[in-house]
């Protein structure tokens, strides 16, 4: 919407109401990530396995955005749900149930359960106390996976993940074509769900809690319950993302539960733009492609450059890359 449109909209009742009511509608710009994802598959066929990882990670980071960016729940333990999903789908497939879609459903369910149970306890706190508790939940799960090596493979990782063809038809191929399409399809569904949540009255009230939780209490919002609901949904989405990576790489390692994974998600989200739904779609590809390229050129110092980029984003582009774009369009 241009400034002129906005002025006109402000000037009359119907215009203002119409402009407000339209916000949830699909805009052409929202098709860009999907067109880009399809185009990338044809332009860089050699990078499809990396592409599939990127798509699955977008889902993970988007789920983190729901919690961090929309509900204002700071977390350094989102990998707990990613890893739970990864191990759920991985263990199922390693023990004779390799049907991928039901594997993802199981991953979502188990992660949601962990999210709900841990949320019941930790969401009663806020700020630093909450941050520490999210860390602790992830650390506890990591230690559990490490000790239960007979089931998880422990330090060596989970081996023998055997995933069946999707719908019994599409076999996962060595070029990653099916994996890419699979991840793209699941991400599309995950995005539609997330988008629906963000634009629903529930999602708007989450934004209210992020902006001013005191006021949400004062208008009678059940703050704890809503936080718990969104935390559970987000955990489920993160679990699906973990399940995707387990199924497409046919391996699950302890790093799927690590602090590094939680932290990386926040870094990617910050680069892209927090609380903007599309931050993950920008931040994740940028980060992972840069990592892939830098890892070849400068494997040791790669984190130095990411650190420098983070400092630049925090100092000059608080809303991440999407925030920058928003500023220029105004």
């Amino acid at each position: 919407m241009t400034v002129k449109d906005l002025d006109r909209a402000r000037s009359d009742r119907n215009g203002a109401i119409e402009a407000f009511a339209r916000r949830h509608r699909f805009r052409p710009l929202e098709a860009v990530p999907w067109v880009a994802a399809l185009a990338a598959a044809f332009v860089f066929p050699g990078y499809l396995p990396l592409g599939a990882q990127i798509l699955a990670t977008i889902l993970f980071v988007m789920s983190a955005d729901l919690v961090v960016g929309y509900a204002g729940i700071v977390t350094l333990g989102h990998a707990a749900f990613f890893g739970t999903g990864a191990y759920t789908a991985g263990i199922l497939a390693a023990h004779g149930w390799g049907e991928p879609l039901s594997g993802l459903v199981a991953a979502a369910a188990v992660s949601a359960l962990i999210g709900f149970l841990s949320g019941l306890v930790i969401l009663r706190t806020t700020g630093l106390a909450l941050l520490m508790q999210t860390l602790v939940v992830a650390a506890m799960l990591l230690e559990t996976a490490n000790k239960a090596s007979s089931i998880t493979g422990g330090d060596d990782g989970l081996q023998g993940v055997d995933v069946w063809p999707i719908f019994g038809v599409f076999h996962f191929d060595m070029f990653g074509r099916v994996a890419y399409g699979y991840c793209l399809g699941v991400l599309l569904v995950g995005w539609l769900v997330t988008r629906q949540i963000v634009h629903s009255p529930f999602g708007r009230s989450l934004t209210g809690m992020r902006e001013n939780v005191r006021r949400m209490h004062a208008i009678g919002a059940p703050v704890f319950r809503r936080r718990l609901v969104v935390y559970t949904i987000s955990a489920a989405l993160a679990g699906v993302s973990g399940g995707l990576i387990a199924q497409t790489t046919q391996f699950v390692g302890l790093t799927s539960l690590s602090l590094e994974r939680s932290g990386n998600a926040l870094i990617m989200l910050t680069i892209g733009g927090v609380g903007r739904l599309y931050g993950a779609f920008i931040g994740v590809p940028l980060y992972m492609i840069a990592q892939d390229q830098f890892a070849e050129i400068e494997p040791v110092y790669w984190y130095f450059w990411i650190g420098l980029l983070m400092v630049a984003v925090v100092m000059f582009a608080r809303g991440g890359i999407i925030g920058l774009v928003e500023r220029f369009r105004r």
């Binding site: 906005l6 909209a9 402000r10 009742r13 203002a16 109401i17 402009a19 407000f20 009511a21 339209r22 916000r23 949830h24 509608r25 629906q196 949540i197 634009h199 629903s200 009255p201 529930f202 999602g203 708007r204 009230s205 934004t207 209210g208 902006e211 001013n212 005191r214 006021r215 949400m216 209490h217 004062a218 208008i219 009678g220 919002a221 059940p222 319950r225 809503r226 609901v229």
Partner: protein
């Protein structure tokens, strides 16, 4: 019975007490807010005015005493349940959603009041009736021109009106205005006074205020709170003439212009 029901105050506290250690912020407060009242609660700094609001709304729990809303005991009810029963408040320091626009502030409150704010299946923009009602409310407060602007872009006085708009969106029976004119430049207090004067007559309004002009313009009854106790209560003329009030409050103001 019906006579009795008519006399039930909109809001009342009986023997309300709260102490933080040795500091009593409320001692034995018996307070009645009649239906449709325009009542002011005044007192010097530290008298316990904001604590009283926090006790009334459920942010703080009293150590003793009873709080009633429309005759029903709400002493143990959490904040959200009190709001559902018609008790709304504004904040002394703006507590708004800085990055959200004005219209959204009010739609959030109305959605909460109507119990649809937890809904996931319908987009917020499809709740046309709510948006419509919110806009109408902005029109009655005269801030509809800013409907689509983020509150952070508004002047402070306008933001104070958004505070009131959010509370009105809850369709309260009892409205607690915690220093509605605080921080507003003196030239703009007229705006606030105008809005409070035009509030629907069936809402019982309690104004907690420092600004004496505003209090004497708006209130039909004034309660003076000093060190957590009610010193005196009465119509404005009586309060203005009261020696003790002059001593603790008005005199205090003269000494510290």
């Amino acid at each position: 019975m019906s006579d009795l029901a008519l006399e039930t105050p909109a809001f009342e506290t009986i023997g309300l007490c709260l102490s933080f250690g040795a500091l009593a912020v409320a001692s034995d407060i018996d307070f009645r807010l009649e239906r449709g009242a325009r009542h002011a609660l005044i007192g010097p700094n530290g008298a316990g005015k904001t604590s009283f609001v926090n006790l009334a709304t459920g942010v703080l729990s009293p150590s003793a005493g009873t709080i009633r809303l429309g005759g029903a005991d709400i002493t143990r009810l959490p904040q959200a349940a009190r709001v559902k029963r018609g008790l709304a408040r504004t904040f002394q320091i703006n507590a708004l959603f800085r990055r959200l626009d004005v219209l959204e502030h009010v739609t959030l409150a109305i959605a909460e009041r109507d119990g649809v704010a937890g809904g996931l299946w319908r987009a917020a923009g499809r709740h046309r009736r709510i948006i419509d009602e919110a806009y109408t409310l902005l029109e009655t407060l005269g801030i509809e021109e800013d409907a689509l602007r983020p509150v952070s872009a508004l002047a402070y006085g306008q933001q104070r009106l958004v505070e009131i708009a959010v509370a009105l969106g809850l369709s309260p029976k009892v409205l607690l205005l915690d220093e509605p004119a605080a921080g507003v430049p003196s030239g703009e207090t007229g705006l606030i006074i105008g809005v409070v004067e035009r509030l629907p007559p069936d809402i019982a309004v309690l104004i907690i205020e420092h600004d004496m002009d505003l209090v004497f313009r708006l209130a039909k009854t004034i309660t003076v709170l000093v060190q957590g106790r009610i010193l005196v209560e009465g119509p404005p003329a009586q309060i203005a003439a009261d020696e003790r009030v002059r001593e603790v409050y008005l005199g205090d103001r003269v000494r510290q212009p």
